[in-house]
Amino acid sequence: MDNAILKCLSINKRYGDVQALTNIDLTVKKGELFGLIGPDGAGKTSLFRILTSLLPADSGTAVVNGLDVEKDFRELRRQIGYMPGRFSLYQDLSVEENLNFFATIFNTTVKENYHLVSDIYRHIEPFKNRRAGKLSGGMKQKLALSCALIHKPTVLFLDEPTTGVDPVSRKEFWEMLKNLKEQGITIIVSTPYMDEAGLCDRIALIQHGKMLSVETPDRITAQFPHKLYRAESKNNYALLGALRQNPEVKSAYMFGEYLHVVFKDKLPHYDETNSKSEDNTQIVFNEIEPCIEDCFIALMNE
């Protein structure tokens, strides 16, 4: 990829007996909104810390914005923004003091780059004299994002910005990211919420330190290797047990109000003949399009 802004090759990282990252190759294009999707412990934070020069890899190379993350770390740190998963601003400084502090460290002023953060910062500006430690979760998140942006980074790394955040606030946060992308900032964001994958240009699915797949969300779902069906009954839990007993069924799992089912045969005689649930109502299997979470489950089971 010639318009790559981030490229890493064969990154490995081990902590004692734990292999945190195994041969990670990754390329991110300039201007992309790139998602790193995976559960806790998948290695997302380790990879972020390596890419932001905060943690040396055991082996492999990573170049961000043309700068080597080890050799050129000083210059690199001027050009990137990083919002760690754990709130790491100064709790005993006020909202305004934190923002001024980060602007000053990067040799700039809040005034100079206010246009970049205004959309986000205006939500917390009414509380600018409040200490950061006294802010709610949602407000801390907005302040942290403002501080990571105030020096106009070319690449922004956001480590699980929406973990523990309710669905409405999560949606708002992704709207902000879309606006930042339009201003030309490359954004690399990690999340354990599979439903956020669809909001990214491309995603990497990561589990146990290995990349399961790197693609656009549409292509990942198109690569789902089976026909997927959904079923429902008055007692989904009982139906789930029955389906798992059935030798025709490859896998069955809960998915919201439905069960998702994959059959062993490509053309199951199930979808015509139907099975019977406990209360003798017909169970209908409808073929559906898989979503990212279905793909993640299938890849984990491989």
Binding site: G38, G137, N301
Partner: protein, 246 residues
């Protein structure tokens, strides 16, 4: 059906701020009751009152038949609790955590070794008995924490965002554990930010600005709000919120 949680106009004020605003609802034995709401809607405050950890400003609440204000110690004895943020001691071994919690909840000392083995074998962690909890993957920890929270066969277990950040397969295994517990008659009171999990609940309440603005089965809520799924129901209600997430 017997009622195991009941509140009447339950209210909590912090100064001029009404965190929980006259909520009235009841939960029946064996239900999985989903307690939803945006950050700052008052869920944690309400849950703390139900667990006997915080006194209501006004109104009443009964949990497992005990008055949450006057008999909070009896409430605590009859419930189990786990949260994502804190559940087990990281620097104790797996069996030591079980031993500790079993002791705190008053499980007969003679039964603890057998209960420990049974619990671990049921969740497939028999081989980890002597592992430090901090060495376990999050998903295993959460399954263990849930088993520990119901070790003393409480009447109700409170789960505060038990599956945050857990991988999609373990998350589902966790919910299957919840279903198993309800089949044994344990009532489950659970908060979550995963809207697919709201669908797994028998009934769901949605808090907005300290009040319960909706309460019904997921199916009925979808019908009531002409929504495709619970995510849509939630967004429609939570958007009405006037309160800043403070």
């Amino acid at each position: 059906m017997s009622i195991v949680i009941e509140t009447q106009e339950l209210t909590k004020k912090f100064g001029a701020f009404t965190a929980v605003d006259h909520i009235s609802f009841s939960v029946e034995k064996g239900e999985i009751f989903g307690f939803l709401g945006a950050n700052g809607a008052g869920k944690t405050t309400a849950m703390r009152m139900l667990c006997g950890l915080s006194k209501p400003t006004s109104g009443k609440g009964f949990v497992a038949g005990y008055n949450i204000e006057k008999e909070s110690e009896m409430v605590k004895k009859n419930i189990g609790y786990m949260s994502q943020k804190f559940s087990l001691y990281e620097d104790l071994k797996v069996w030591e955590n079980i031993r500790l919690y079993a002791g705190i909840y008053g499980v007969d000392g003679k039964l603890i070794p057998r209960k420990t083995d049974e619990t671990l074998s049921k969740i497939g962690l028999s081989g980890e008995k002597n592992s430090m909890v901090k060495e376990l993957p999050l998903g295993w920890k959460q399954k263990l924490a849930f088993s520990v929270a119901i070790l003393h066969e409480p009447r109700i277990v409170f789960l505060d965002e038990p599956t945050g950040g857990v991988d999609p397969i373990t998350r589902r295994q966790f919910w299957e554990m919840i279903y198993e517990a309800t089949e044994r008659g344990i009532t489950v009171f659970v908060t979550t930010h995963y809207m697919d999990e709201a669908e797994y609940c028998s009934r769901v309440s949605i808090m907005v600005d300290g009040r319960i603005d909706a309460l019904d089965t997921p199916h009925n809520l979808r019908t009531q709000f002409s929504a495709q799924n619970m995510d849509e129901v939630f967004r429609r209600l939570a958007r009405k919120a006037k309160r800043m997430d403070t």
